[in-house]
């Protein structure tokens, strides 16, 4: 089940990084030793566009994910202003309300073994939602984050039909008091943004932060193209599985421990 993430690109990237690393080290000794490495690893200036140098991903260890714990879901709601946090969707039925991330319980009927995992947009390399979008509203950023451009979304919901993970929601009602960094409005489709507003500021997604704060450490966030990132090392060492790997979507969200 284990599939390498873009082996070729990773390799090229590694060479590039080694080259950059050496150059940087040389410059670093001349200027200020020790200060440079973190600068290289992080910090996209606000006016710089995201690029294919990165591919952001998540790794979720279902063995560490506690059943009954919904810290990631709550954190997402608080961060992006949906669900319990924003009561604007008062007339919609439960099945109609927006869900960016949900906890799913898997039960093996044969053995009775129960597992729990968070399910969210898998940020595919080849996203079916982008394929079917008639307006170009559903798109993938250069750094692999799949988003909806609500400015041009016409609310046709083809993407919701195409998504194998039920990751997207349609807003049926007028929304008030949105979060500044997470605009939401009637007649458009929305889903997990991998907290792009945080990622663009060198942050990590709210769900990962919450999981760490709870002490479960079931979620890693990082750059799949950086072979030195924790997520890449962990994937290289112990592997990770895609949900519906048969669809060959090369998802940015990987799981460990699903049995």
């Amino acid at each position: 089940m284990t599939q390498p993430v873009n082996t070729n690109e990773t390799k090229t990237d590694l060479y590039r990084r080694q080259f950059l690393g050496k150059t940087a080290a040389a410059a670093g000794f001349a200027l200020a030793p020790g200060m440079l490495l973190t600068e290289i690893a992080h910090a996209k200036p606000a006016d710089e566009a995201v690029s294919t140098k990165n591919r952001w991903g998540l790794l979720i260890n279902t063995n560490k994910c506690a059943s009954g714990c919904t810290a990631c879901v709550t954190a997402c709601q608080v961060e992006n202003g949906w669900g319990e946090i924003n009561k604007s969707e008062e007339l919609s039925r439960a099945s109609q309300k927006a869900v960016w991330i949900r906890k799913v319980k898997l039960k093996d009927k044969q053995t009775g073994h129960v597992q729990s995992l968070p399910l969210l947009c898998q940020h595919c390399e080849k996203p079916p939602c982008v394929d079917v979008c008639p307006t170009g509203a559903s798109f993938k950023r250069e750094d692999g984050i799949v988003l909806v451009d609500k400015h041009i979304c016409i609310g046709c919901r083809y993407c919701m039909m195409a998504c194998p993970y039920k990751a997207r929601s349609f807003i049926h009602e007028t929304i008030k008091n949105q979060k500044v960094h997470a605009p939401r409005g009637k007649g458009t489709v929305e889903s997990c943004t991998m907290c792009a507003h945080r990622v663009d500021n060198d942050g990590i997604p709210a769900c990962v932060e919450a999981c760490n704060a709870e002490g479960h450490q079931a979620m890693y966030f990082g750059d799949l193209k950086d072979s030195n990132s924790v997520i890449s090392k962990e994937l290289a060492k112990n592997g990770g599985q895609q949900l519906r790997a048969d669809l060959d979507l090369n998802t940015g969200v990987r799981y460990q421990g699903i049995k």
Binding site: K44, A46, D47, E48, A49, V50, F139, R141, E142, D143, L147, D149, K150, H151, T174, I175, N177, Q178, K179, V180, H181, P183, R184, G185, K186, G187, T188, A196, H197, R198, V199, D200, N201, D202, G203, A206, E209
Partner: protein, 136 residues
Amino acid sequence: MLSHKTIISTLLSILLFLPVFAQADNLMPTVPKAKAKANPETLCVRDVKVMRTNHMEFLMHQRDETMRKGIRTKKDSLAECITCHVSKDDEGKFASYGDDEHFCSSCHNYAAVKIDCFDCHNDKPTAASKTGSTVK
């Protein structure tokens, strides 16, 4: 020769309509002053005249840059406009888009401009928008 009647009626009608002419100034939109960051030197991020004519272009450009490329500069950010320009009334409440007191609608109402920015975007400053980007 004009008759007395004509002269009197003309004078009367001028007197009657004078108040209307006098009030013409008040019919212009009252645009609330930006409070948060305005200073006498810069006034706004660009010359006020340029902003009045072209703000929609700047916003539209920034919209695509942010959405598609993750460029989050503050200069032409809608959130920054709101933070600086939407101010509290005497009761300490922020005006909503659509009210004549709201910076955007103070002029849009007058000019009959219909926008849908605030169908999705928050029309009021929030704690998070004031401190800039949220958490690391």
